[in-house]
Subunit: 451 residues, 2 copies
């Protein structure tokens, strides 16, 4: 079967779109979910256009061979992890980019990096807001597949909020164009948003029309420190109850320490947690944020109107995951809870860390209740790894127990399959499978993951 499908791909695709070289394929087996075990693809397809994606899907359907779509491979949940014997299809060469400044939209290929879309928009004085911390190296296709978030979501929403139109190749190779260039459009089912966040299980996104905004206004940055994480959590609820910050990020003591080791910011090593907020409402708004932090027990709160200082602090926050990864293998949580439950979540994570003798530095998009406890362990120590796996599960159980989610922005992938069913229940899983069955009756799109 493997030989037959490779022959068919070789006959149907240009030579530069297909490789079976194991050395090349090796680089496409994993994403950044380091603990997900990948299979080995039979072939890697890198289509140069939508028609080549259609050809690949028609051949895959004809031969009953699964297809794993992938973007830039920065996913954190294993959604792009290779499946044994499947075709891996990388969208990296689908890189068209048209900015329509008067309509304030971008028509892009999934292979562009998020930062490239931002830069293309900025060249016209416009802004594409969604900003995963990996924005310089993650692709728009991956952002769409996971409905990626980021720091500005608390005010500006997530990827799906910017999607006006999608071009999608279905499992059988047919092509659909969903939505368009109109801002408000309720003509028919909202199919665009069914594909956004579906992690390659329903179709392959080959193009997107994205809404842009006028350039972001100037921001003030507020830094506040707290003796304990629960205090910082309480401050979050106070802040979002009063104003709409454009970022509201949390780092706990261990996360601050990990970043300080790599990029010293002169932060007090003795703090329990740090909140970083940005606001566009001028000095009155930033003063309200600082006051809200103080009223929640901040040990220190200060406002800076200096854009460079603000960007330095935000860059430090975005560096947290790679900095913590220097300490060991990291299993990245992505839990979310309703904002009032944040203090409880943070206390429970601290308890889990202590109980399992496992370091779990915490960072998070606190304003949305979305946290990334970073379950960290020495990969050489089998017992530590086992403890970490238990801790990883317990953090998700804690989020669910608090009415939350196991994934706020990274997706389910391979790492959270079990936890998804615990969260949504068998009825919603059954409904999801009915939709999967309707769109991909042979189950060839990204199989063995969560759907």
């Amino acid at each position: 079967m493997a030989v037959a499908v490779i022959d068919a791909l070789a006959a149907g695709l240009p030579a530069d779109a297909l490789t079976t070289d194991p050395d090349v394929i090796e680089g496409y087996r994993r994403d950044r979910a380091m603990t997900a075990e990948p299979g080995t693809p039979v072939a890697l397809v890198r289509p140069a256009d939508t028609a080549q994606v259609q050809t690949t899907m028609r051949i895959a359907t004809a031969h009953g061979v699964p297809v794993v779509p992938r973007g830039a491979g920065t996913g954190l949940s294993g959604g792009a992890t290779a499946v044994e014997g499947a075709i891996t299809l990388s969208t990296e060469r689908l890189r068209h980019c048209e900015i329509d400044p008067t309509s304030m939209l971008a028509v892009v290929g999934p292979g562009l990096f998020n930062a490239e879309v931002k830069a293309a928009a900025a060249a016209h004085g416009l802004w594409y807001p969604p900003d995963p911390s990996s924005f310089e190296i993650c692709s728009i296709g991956g952002n769409l597949a996971t409905n990626a978030g980021g720091l500005c979501c608390v005010k500006y929403g997530v990827t799906t909020d910017y999607v006006l139109g999608l071009e999608v190749v279905l499992a059988d190779g047919s092509l659909v164009r969903l939505g368009g260039r109109t801002i408000k459009d309720v003509a028919g089912l909202d199919l665009k948003r069914l594909f956004v966040g579906s992690e390659g299980t329903l179709g392959i996104i080959t193009g997107a029309t994205l809404r842009l905004r006028p350039a972001a206004p100037a921001v003030d940055t507020v830094v506040a420190t707290f003796a304990g994480v629960a205090d910082a959590g309480r401050a979050v609820a106070r802040v979002v109850g009063e104003v709409r910050p454009s970022a509201l990020e949390l780092m706990d003591r261990a996360a601050v320490a990990a970043v300080e080791r790599v990029r010293p910011m002169g932060l007090d090593a003795d703090i329990g947690a740090l909140l970083l907020a940005q606001g566009e409402g001028g000095s009155a708004e930033s003063a309200r944020i600082a006051t809200a932090c103080e009223e929640a027990g901040a040990t220190y709160a200060a406002v800076s109107a200096d854009p460079e200082q603000g960007e330095m602090l935000m860059a430090a926050r975005r560096m947290a995951i790679p900095c913590v990864e220097r300490l060991g293998t990291v299993m990245i949580e992505d839990v979310g809870v309703p904002v009032p439950r944040i203090p409880e979540l943070l206390e429970r994570v601290a308890g889990i860390s202590e109980r399992h003798t496992t370091a779990i530095p915490v960072i998070g998009h606190a304003g949305d209740g979305n946290f990334h406890p970073l379950v960290t362990f020495d990969p050489q120590d089998a017992e530590a790894a086992a403890r970490a796996r238990v801790a990883f599960d317990e953090v998700m159980d804690a989020a669910l127990d608090l009415g939350g989610t196991v994934t706020g922005e990274h997706g389910v992938g391979t790492l959270k399959t079990r936890h998804l069913e615990a969260q949504v229940g068998p009825e919603v899983m059954a409904l999801s499978r009915r939709i999967k069955q309707a769109l991909d009756p042979d189950g060839i799109l990204n199989p063995g993951k969560w759907l």
Copy 2:
């Protein structure tokens, strides 16, 4: 068959949830799409709770009898128009309402009016933004079914942007709970948003968890008048290219005149079009809006910081449809185009009006490119009615020709079925029907409409 299903409903439901009285049923045959021809239901079910909705759907499935769900009957496209021989299910009694002020969300039944949700939120200093002009008499269930918009959408988004969770009864009577209370949640498919805007074709929404915001900030109101509608259209693109107004509404000369007749505002009858903008960015922002209007050729532009005056102007805008309805039978368009195409759309509508000797006053949520040309005719004049029907179709054709949509916020219903297929094409219709088939295999939910 009719007798058997009525007997089964009578056996399964409390007496107060079922009626077959033709006089009562008469009031549930239409929504506000006056030109849609309704059938006569075999029964009207008004369930008091979700379990009664489930019972109704199980009985309907067992007997193969269709069900037309309806909210408050203010729909403008005929989505709730009764189907001959079907059960009409009104969600009017599903009126639970819980505000969670610390999580900033509302857990509501679909039978609440939009204004009741706003009021309940306001009692806690919070705000539910979506604001269809009919907000005082339209239900949240209908808002969800059509993905309703309104005036504040240009800054604050539409109904789907506020949905954190949904409770839905499927065609077979099974119940699913989608999403929850967490702001960011990408666990599994985004099924919530598949049901929002599906106009009762995929399931019956029996409850929703809606995101709330802090109370709206104070606004300035900008009024600008123009010699022609195309000038006003050009001003819209200038304004949204610079700032994010919280409302940006257009009324043409005929719409202004219709409102002036009912509620005189002392507006110059000689204007070609009026723009009404609101902004939350203080006097600097409102001055920028006024300047942008002047640069686009406004004959007059003024800023008011008086909230009463601002609300009076916005109330006048919201009254436009009922005021125009005094002039004849109105077929309400709901077209949308990309913002730069607004001047062309408005010019084409004027041409269609002239060519078919049919009055078409125009109002619209101009900042989103969403317009309601009001195709108006004397119902006693058969020739005028025929001309109006041609004009109605031509306005939608014009929107499609400009890359737009036949419905920005009102839905497809029964009036725009043909136009939907022209817009999205056969592939997307086929995909939509695959999803319909997966969720409602017997096709009993709101049949004979667009899906």
